[in-house]
């Protein structure tokens, strides 16, 4: 895994609540057996019409969204299906973080394992971000802070171990594998 710390980017604002993982990547694109190239299907039914042409009014198709790697979305982002294809598609498209007031549990877990930072902020900070699409924002994983467009810094919660893994560029499986003795001891107790 790549080390992750500072992300500075302009934002893309998607002011919709309860964006579910079926919108982030529709189920018909889950027949792949690898995770390569899923970015082309990100938000497929919002980005493209029935003929596959880009819908010009959707924010990701607008010129001002080009190059942005921070998504600002409405409350309860990533709800629904557990598909890890959702953060895979976001990362493959070029996003590195999402900022919302709340983020669904499974999506948040999946994101942290893919170097995609789920950032939850209070309603007032969120309102500032919604009101300033395209503004430049900095996220620091090390400091657990978001620097808002007006320069104010707010902290966000992040699981300490997930943060450690992001900063060091190590993955959780390595850690679990290193606990072999404890797992074996637990299994020995189970079989008694």
């Amino acid at each position: 895994m790549e080390r992750m710390d500072i992300i500075t980017s302009k934002t893309v604002v998607l002011p919709v609540e309860n964006v579910d993982t079926d919108q982030i990547i529709p189920a018909r694109f889950l027949k792949a057996t690898s995770k390569v190239g899923l970015g082309s299907k990100l938000f497929a039914d919002w980005r493209f019409d029935a003929e596959g042409k880009p819908k010009t009014d959707f924010i990701l198709n607008r010129p001002e969204a080009a190059g942005a790697s921070i998504l600002v979305a409405g409350d309860n982002f990533g709800c629904g299906s557990s598909r890890e294809h959702a953060p895979w598609a976001l990362v493959d498209y070029g996003f590195r973080a999402v900022i919302s007031t709340s983020i669904a549990d499974i999506f948040r877990n999946n994101s942290l394992k893919n170097g995609f930072i789920p950032v939850m902020v209070d309603a007032a900070s969120h309102a500032k971000l919604l009101a300033a699409p395209g503004a430049t924002v900095t996220i620091s994983v090390k400091d657990r802070t978001v620097t808002l467009p007006d320069g104010a810094k707010v902290t966000f919660p992040i699981d300490p171990f997930a943060r450690y893994c992001l900063l060091q560029g190590v993955d959780e499986l390595e850690f679990l594998l290193s606990q072999e003795k404890e797992i074996a001891a637990f299994e020995a107790r189970l079989s008694q």
């Binding site: 529709p26 057996t33 629904g80 299906s81 300490p160 171990f161 606990q179 637990f186």
Partner: protein
């Protein structure tokens, strides 16, 4: 000294701690049963191969194929034809992975195949007190047996395959207490749709729900599975119900349930699982079952549900207005009477024998309305066989419905069963997200009774008018 009263969740959690959480690291939780399907596992097996790892406990791992599998009738050769090359490749990949890593697989076309959350309980693999995971958010279904069961992502699938363990932060607990008696024609599906309508789609985030109260205790195991299944639709990763005589009667004699003296020991242990008197939950929500009505959703998330006789609420914000626009509906009007193009009876929520029997009470002696397509899709090959043995398939086909092979079918629309753009469906599945049942399709979630009533009238109908 008497120990602190504990919830069922706390008992199961503590019994599975390989290592408790520290300030720096999450808890390591041991997994008793890992269920695997074709869609969320291929990348996990690839990573194992890349790192030269084995599956630590193949005997605790069981696979089937359900999401991308077609449900179209078998050909003359007795095989289910797979016309989609990508689906065929994914199915072949699971077969290869299971063969290589030594995992029990219930493949397409075999007697044990079915929706992963249907076959686990059916085989007796799902047992009280277990930690059960699967790369699927509806793993919460298994909580109906007093298990801690939750969905995981593909990275976590690889963690469990390699170590039989998961890193977890302890969730909070939420008691959903449902007291009183349901009125005739009101079902387990209506209970859970009413719960989600009150909690909202994110209302249970960060929590494990325990469903309690006299209305829950009165439910059969199949009904309890319907309730726990949709816990994730309120944002809760897991839902659970204390095991009792209903649970033990369901499990006794199932092929993978303990037998003989081991059965008696298991039941004695399971009796200790329910939450202790005086155990505290982080939060509680109370419901009165006697006031519940048949429920139906009108919007684009499962929290947007109403009693079938009620008006569609006026949109309260831009997101709600967007949902109504997608659905082609207007607020402050009744949904009952709205036209329906397709009816889907199936999915891990409502594809079990009792669901099919309920639907059949409506179909018997009636015909599917002109212009309505109706699919009835059993949750497993075993259910298909049992339904056919009691003639349910003929009730459906004589009414003009399609009787299919087992699978997820139109719940997820990645297997050929899907809505056309703009079509309206009454569906017994669990999600009404935009495009969930096919791009541009529009879903009303409801019980098997309500779905069957819509099929025979061609309109959103209160089934109590027909039964």
């Amino acid at each position: 000294m008497k120990s602190q009263p504990r919830t069922m969740f706390e008992k199961i959690w503590e019994a599975h701690l390989v290592r408790p959480a520290t300030d720096d690291t999450p808890a390591i939780l041991y997994v008793d049963l890992h269920l695997v399907h074709e869609v969320t596992s291929p990348q996990a097996f690839t990573w194992l191969r890349e790192r030269g790892l084995k599956v630590r406990r193949p005997e605790r791992t069981v696979a089937t194929m359900d999401h991308s599998t077609p449900t179209t009738p078998r050909g003359r050769d007795g095989k289910i034809p797979i016309l989609d090359n990508a689906a065929a490749a994914q199915i072949a990949t699971l077969e290869k992975n299971c063969a290589e890593f030594g995992i029990e697989l219930h493949a397409l076309g075999t007697d044990g195949q079915g929706i992963v959350h249907v076959i686990g309980p059916e085989m007796g693999l799902t047992q009280p007190g277990e930690v059960i995971v699967c790369g699927d958010s509806h793993t919460s279904t298994h909580g109906a047996f007093g298990a801690l069961a939750f969905g995981i992502g593909t990275s976590e699938v690889s963690h469990v395959l390699a170590t039989q363990s998961l890193l977890q932060q302890p969730p909070k607990t939420l008691a959903v207490t449902v007291e009183g008696q349901l009125r005739p024609g009101v079902t387990a599906k209506d209970i859970i749709l009413a719960v989600i309508a009150r909690l909202g789609i994110g209302g249970g985030t960060g929590h494990v729900i325990e469903y309690r109260g006299s209305a829950i205790r009165a439910l059969s195991m199949e009904e309890r599975m319907t309730v726990c299944n949709m816990s994730i639709e309120a944002g809760a990763r897991a839902g659970m119900i204390a095991p009792d005589e209903t649970t033990f009667a369901y499990l006794k004699g199932r092929p993978r349930a303990p037998q003989g003296a081991a059965w008696d020991r298991a039941v004695a242990a399971w009796r200790k699982l329910p939450s202790d008197e005086g155990a505290t939950f982080d939060r509680e929500e109370k419901f009165d079952a006697s006031t519940l009505e048949p429920m139906i959703t009108y919007g684009t998330n499962p929290g947007m549900g109403i009693a079938i006789s009620a008006d569609i609420p006026a949109p309260s914000n831009a997101t709600a207005a967007k949902a109504l626009a997608y659905m082609g509906l207007t607020g402050e009007k009744r949904l009952a009477g709205h036209k329906v193009d397709v009816v889907f009876i199936g999915s891990c929520t409502n594809s079990r024998l009792s669901d099919l029997r309920a639907a059949a009470t409506v179909f018997k002696g009636r015909k599917v309305a002109d212009g309505v397509r109706t699919l009835v899709v059993p949750g497993s090959q075993a259910i298909k066989k049992a339904a056919e043995a009691e003639g349910l398939d003929r009730v459906f086909t004589e009414a003009g419905a399609e009787w299919r092979e087992a699978g997820c079918s139109m719940c997820i629309a990645m297997n050929g069963d899907q809505l056309k753009p703009g079509q309206y469906a009454v569906s017994t599945s669990n999600r009404n997200f935009e495009g969930r049942q096919g791009a541009g399709g529009r879903t009303f979630l409801a019980s098997p009774l309500t779905a069957a009533a819509a099929a025979v009238t061609g309109r959103v109908t209160d089934a109590r008018e027909l039964i």
